[in-house]
Amino acid sequence: MSTYQFLIRRGLQGLLVIWGVITVVFLLRFMTPGSPVDFVAPLDASPELRAQIARNLGLDQPIYVQYAQYLGSLLQGDMGFSYIRGRPASGIIFLRLPATIELAVAATVVAIIFSIPLGVISATRRHEPADYAATGFSLVGISTPNFWLGIMLILLVSVGLGILPTSRRPIGLVPAMEMLIFQFETVGIQTWIRHMILPAITLGTYFTAMIVRLTRSGMLDQLGQPYVKAARAKGLPETLVTYKHALRNTMIPIITVLGLQLGTLIGGAVITEFVFNWPGLGTLIIDAINVRDWPIIQGALIVIGVGFVVINIVVDALYARLNPRVSLE
């Protein structure tokens, strides 16, 4: 099977998954107590006015009719109008999406920069202080709740030392890069980096700790393989044996986990966004849940679901590329 055929097949499977996500997310609203009418209607609204508002919002239709209408709208790229904001949900969601993607990617970059070297060092210096330090960090990183770590970093680094901002995202990566490229101004990218560091570390710490463990165990496994002994017997430098041969084979499961975790980070950055006042999808979903703004909730969850599916397909394709022994079949 060619890569092209593989992508088409996985794309079709992905569509089925997305349809499942849409259906489950749609049905969620009927299993959740509280009606959006309560947040839209005047306090003294008569039952007739409440019914009228429900009609205006399309909530008086049978579930299957609402479902069909929603699917039809989605096919046209229409996620409906926010009940509370009165504006298209898609516009509100896609305005927030870049912030979440930036944060997830930055956290992944933090994880890659720190975790793989730490994992390799830990494996190649087994039972030495560096190994204990790396595994200790891994244990602490996995055990530390995001909200606590975020608040502590803010207190120490921002309030205590005053070297980084506490929160917010005054500029996005794209406008910052535009300033850099077209106006030769570095102030935008500096600001972006300053505001990104603490949220990225907070979100990426758990991820880093996990990859350290994965890298360490993978490297230990690979370093015991016969081909490594053969490479050493040939007289190859240890650095080359470690990074060229053992690490490359260790990277296969790491890439898989990285991809899956990136999807998780996009949907799971809620706490970090909350603590750092990061204007992403997570805070949007929380605000929308509080007022039962279902078009926003549904739209945001679907966007996250689509992102997850796309990342998985990319990871699968990359997996085959990295390891030719793995068939696309």
Partner: protein, 535 residues
Amino acid sequence: MPEATEDRISRRNYLQFAGAAAAVGLAGCAGEDVDDLEDGDDVDPGDDDGIDDEENHLHITQTQNPTTLDPHDHRETTTDNIILQAYEFHFKRDLDGNLVDGLVTDWEIVDDDRYQIEIREGVSFHNGDELTPEDSAFSINRVVDADVGNLESPQRDQLAGVESAEVDDDGHVLIHTDGPNPMTFANLGSYCPVVEEDWIMDRDPEAIAEDMNGTGPYQLEEFVDGEYTDFTSFPDYWDGEAEIASLRIDASSESSTRINSLRAGEIDVATAVPPSDAGAIESDDDTYIADAPSTRILMLPMRYDVEPFTSQEFRQAMNYAIDFDSIIENVLSGFGDATAQPTLEGYFGHNPDLDPYPYDPERAEELVEESGFAGAEIELVVPAGRYLQSDEIAQACVGYIDDLDNVSCDIDLTDFGELTGILLDGDIETTPPFFLIGWGNTTFDAENNLLPWLTEGTSQYTFVDEELEDLILSARTEVDEDEREQLLMDACARANELAVFVFLNREYLIYGMNQRVDWDATPDEYTRAYEMSLR
């Protein structure tokens, strides 16, 4: 082995990459030249609109961003706080909540169902157009009439009793009501911001939700939905240009984020500071606490038609059972006032002769015995995390009641939206028998505390007593001020005697302030930058 050389990640290569990454990070951390961005957060070097003039710039962080900029299409205080920088009500209020001249310069009751206001001349909207009486009438009609202004306003109940408004031949605005309505002027001092008719009618709802054109002291500079709203002072404001030239309001739901931003000097005002954090702010040299009693009262309504709350003795026992002074001291760190009636001190109709029920658990147990409901098992439904320390207050109340020998009490934390839904559906049968709720009333008039909860037929009533209802409904139509005040005071006394609620506390507004900002906090929950100055 050329291939190996290309793909090789040597220790030196890695150190080079790591060094580059660290350099980028340090560049981000260190640059003094970007510090200026942190407060104004303006990163456009070509922008000369003054937002980044830190000397005369104010940054307020509240709990939620606005859901819209349409002044008539929302119900949230946090949205109002944005909107009221740029829009104005018909009246202003002084620090005691009394109506004073604003966009209205004269007002009088023409007869029982006609109320007249005179609109100030020479007032400009931000787009330069002059305010007219027609704009005032249009604003009122847009709220009360779904056929006006392309909007079914969720604020209609805020002008209860008002049917329409029109401009008479003399240029006065005549407000028509469905009968005697002494709350007409008070409501216009707390609700219904004035908009320009042409500006509204020339735009679709989406445009109105993202732009502003009021008569207020600040004009919209930039609105980034979900992130921030920037204002600059309006030089032609009729009451004099604002002292502070530019303003940013953004939001952070997490209180620690707001407080840390304040302590780090990134913002000037943080709203809704938890009492437990007030000490840390006060102890910091650069910050201080500003507080004011709010317009919101917390209470535990008890349904009059469900046992054991059918018994007046039992309801009184619930009030005697709770040591509210201790709750104010220990849970609210002193930021609260105990209440004895459904309305608040300083409100028209507040009865100054009533004292809170004292803490007397023995008396409470006696009353429970007298009620015939000894051994009752009750449950308090609480909207989780909704009000200032309300979960902790509720837990303390439940603890005190449960400590009585002859009553057991549990707590049920629920979602606010879920509770709102069953409270407002107009069916008392779905209302929990015993629950916690906060009720805000910015009209400074007791009627809006009494009527919704204590008269049959409203969407959320929990208690009916013939004598009490007569007093409230009489006050609703009594236009003689003294008579009306007495009726409301009598209603409050009756509500106290009947123990219609477990009377909890008046919520306090607690703000964290940068020392450079001078401001007397007001009870209405709005942080109007116009009232602030910089030291």
